[in-house]
């Protein structure tokens, strides 16, 4: 027998189950996202009272050369990270064979993915060491002197992005391997009968089937590029002279080191807006697919 009280409890069970998760997610994450925007309209040192200044922080951003530098670097990250999906696909094609030892080789290819970006940053800064690093050795072979990549305003961002690309390629590799596993063998067989080979086969038979996976690999690489922070912090601290900074790093510096929380929040809001473009694009695609399937 169910008493009215039990009935009542049952009716509310779903809500009770949702409550703790929703409270945390909305209380900490969603609320913070909105509060970032709110703070960006203020002048605030993080301790005292915040003074409302309207859009002054945004106007200042517009004339701040460091902001444009960071934005440009974010764009470089985005563009270079677009290499991750094709490189991941290339390695996936290489290792998608059933040969003794391949399983182990595959897991070794995945490894950069589980290393923390701090680890990756440490390894690569030492790679780039201008006196004894591997780069110096390679240049030495040709009797040339290696450029000090991490202290060169010109090359530093590329040097850091390249390090960040390493785990990102591994991520794309995992995705593409799963995609290759789900290929329709009949279509591949039909392609073979029609004498499709090599590049043709890849372009016209395989890639169309990997459309969904490619889309995800690109989306995830874009997100990864916009989130870049750890590796910059470890390798260069945004230097030299802010030339390797990105929006996320500039926001961190302006807030925690210059105590300009309002200004930092304005930078964060810009980053948020850029990300929103990608999220809307991704959601639109996802919902289209879900409705289509």
């Amino acid at each position: 027998m169910t008493t009215p009280r039990q009935k009542m409890l049952e009716r509310w069970t779903p809500a009770l189950l949702l409550a703790p998760g929703l409270i945390l997610f909305f209380g900490v994450i969603v609320f913070s996202a909105f509060r970032t925007f709110w703070i960006s309209l203020h002048e605030w040192d993080g301790f005292g009272t915040a003074v409302y200044v309207g859009l002054a922080n945004y106007r200042e951003l517009w004339t701040d050369p460091q902001f444009w530098m960071s934005l440009k670097n974010n764009a470089i990250w985005l563009v270079v990270f677009l290499l991750a999906p094709p490189l991941g696909l290339a390695i996936a094609l290489l290792v998608n064979q059933k040969i003794a030892g391949m399983r182990f080789a595959k897991s070794l290819f995945f490894m950069p993915l589980v290393l923390s970006l701090v680890t990756v940053g440490v390894i690569f800064s030492w790679f780039y060491d201008p006196t004894f690093g591997i780069l110096a050795k390679i240049f030495g072979l040709f009797g040339a002197e290696a450029p000090a990549l991490l202290s060169s305003e010109r090359y530093v961002t590329f040097a850091v992005v390249f390090a960040g690309l390493w785990p990102q390629v591994a991520f794309c590799l995992v995705l593409f391997l799963a995609g290759l596993n789900n290929l329709d063998s009949e279509i591949i067989g039909a392609g073979r009968v029609d004498n499709a080979r090599g590049w043709q086969m890849l372009r016209h038979v395989v890639l169309p089937q990997l459309k969904q996976v490619s889309f995800i690999a690109i989306a995830i690489s874009m997100i990864g590029a916009l989130r870049s922070f750890d590796i910059i912090s470890v390798m260069t601290s945004g230097g030299p002279f802010g030339s390797s900074s990105v929006l996320a790093y500039q926001m961190y510096e302006e807030s925690l080191f210059s105590y300009r929380y309002g200004y930092g929040a304005a930078i964060a809001t810009v980053l948020f807006a850029i990300m929103l473009i990608f999220i809307v694009w991704y959601l639109a695609n996802l919902l289209k697919n879900e409705n289509g399937a």
Binding site: L9, E10, P14, L17, G21, L22, F25, V28, I29, V30, A33, T36, I39, G46, L94, N96, Q97, I99, G101, M102, A105, F109, F110, L113, V114, L115, S116, V118, T119, V122, I123, F127, T131, F132, I134, K137, V174, L177, A178, L180, V206, Q212, I216, I223, R227, F229, S233, V234, M251, Y252, S255, Y261, G264, A268, T269, F272, M275, F278, L283, L286
Partner: protein
């Protein structure tokens, strides 16, 4: 299968192919190999510029002993465990609950909620820094394990909920109908049907969350300050400032930091890969 499988009968081509794969792998893992070798070297070797040659003397024990004796790495390591394990357990429990409700109960705004979880999951988390830090200060949690646990649980819930929702939605619907016909309450359905069936998903999710949280560096430096609560990633970054050119010790410490996620990965590789693809492909 694509590319065309190399048939088992072609022994030479198989051996050649595998040799090629290992050659690519050698370049791919050169950074890891280099850091392992460096963690074996003596400081004299490093000073002499012997970064790439064979070590003149193996200094394995001394280097690794140095990180335990002369640095706080063990404390950081313990801190990381204290932060990571409860966070993972809490996310698993909470996301099973939210994922269950979202996948099996239709209600007004469920699509909106779903979209909010995806959006939150994709945000560059730096966007939340200022308010989250302020929140932790006002809760009195700043510079405690609690701050990191609270943040990680809240943030990872987005990803974990999507993950669990998709997994539970894919379970056969008849099970749930039958249970409801028998008069089982939602709580009983959760306990008797969902929990036993989602074990593989929980395993996959657990290892992913462990890796994400263990490797976090940003929140570690934003929400903690003192060595007593700092996790390994932040500790390692500190170490680099203190041991500027002692690359042998830094390399040993770097490897030490990487041990848990790498170990977890090799032990539960199948779960890791399936989790990553499942999480990414569906969510």
């Amino acid at each position: 299968m694509y590319p065309k499988p190399i048939p088992p009968s072609h022994r030479t081509s198989r051996i050649l192919y595998m040799t090629g794969v290992w050659a690519v792998l050698a370049i791919w893992l050169l950074p890891v190999a280099a850091i392992i070798m460096t963690s074996f070297r003596t400081f004299d070797d490093i000073m002499a510029g012997n970064y790439w040659g064979w070590p003149t003397k193996f200094n394995i024990l001394e280097n690794y002993a140095a990180i335990f004796q002369h640095t706080d790495m063990l404390v950081y390591f313990r801190n990381s465990l204290i932060i990571t394990i409860p966070s993972v357990v809490l996310v698993l429990a909470l996301s099973t609950m939210t994922g269950f409700v979202l996948s099996r109960h239709k209600f007004v705004g469920s699509t909106l909620l779903f979209a909010a979880f995806i959006a939150g999951n994709f945000m560059p988390y730096q966007v939340f820094m200022i308010p989250v830090r302020d929140l932790m200060v006002s809760l009195g949690l700043y510079d405690t394990y609690g701050a990191l646990i609270l943040f990680h649980v809240s943030f990872q819930l987005g990803f974990a909920t999507l993950f669990m929702r998709n997994f539970i939605a894919a379970l056969p619907g008849e099970l749930f109908q039958a249970a409801r016909a028998e008069g089982a309450s939602p709580m009983q359905i959760l306990r008797i049907i969902v929990v036993p069936l989602v074990r593989p998903a929980l395993a996959a999710l657990a290892i992913l969350l462990f890796t994400f949280i263990w490797n976090d560096y940003f929140w570690a430096i934003v929400l903690t300050q003192t060595d007593a609560v700092k996790p390994v990633t932040a500790g390692l970054a500190n170490l680099r400032g203190e041991w500027v050119s002692a690359w042998n010790v830094i390399s040993a410490a770097t490897l030490f930091v990487a041990i848990p996620p790498v170990l977890m990965f090799f032990l539960m590789q199948k779960h890791f890969v399936s989790g990553l693809t499942m999480g990414a492909v569906k969510g």
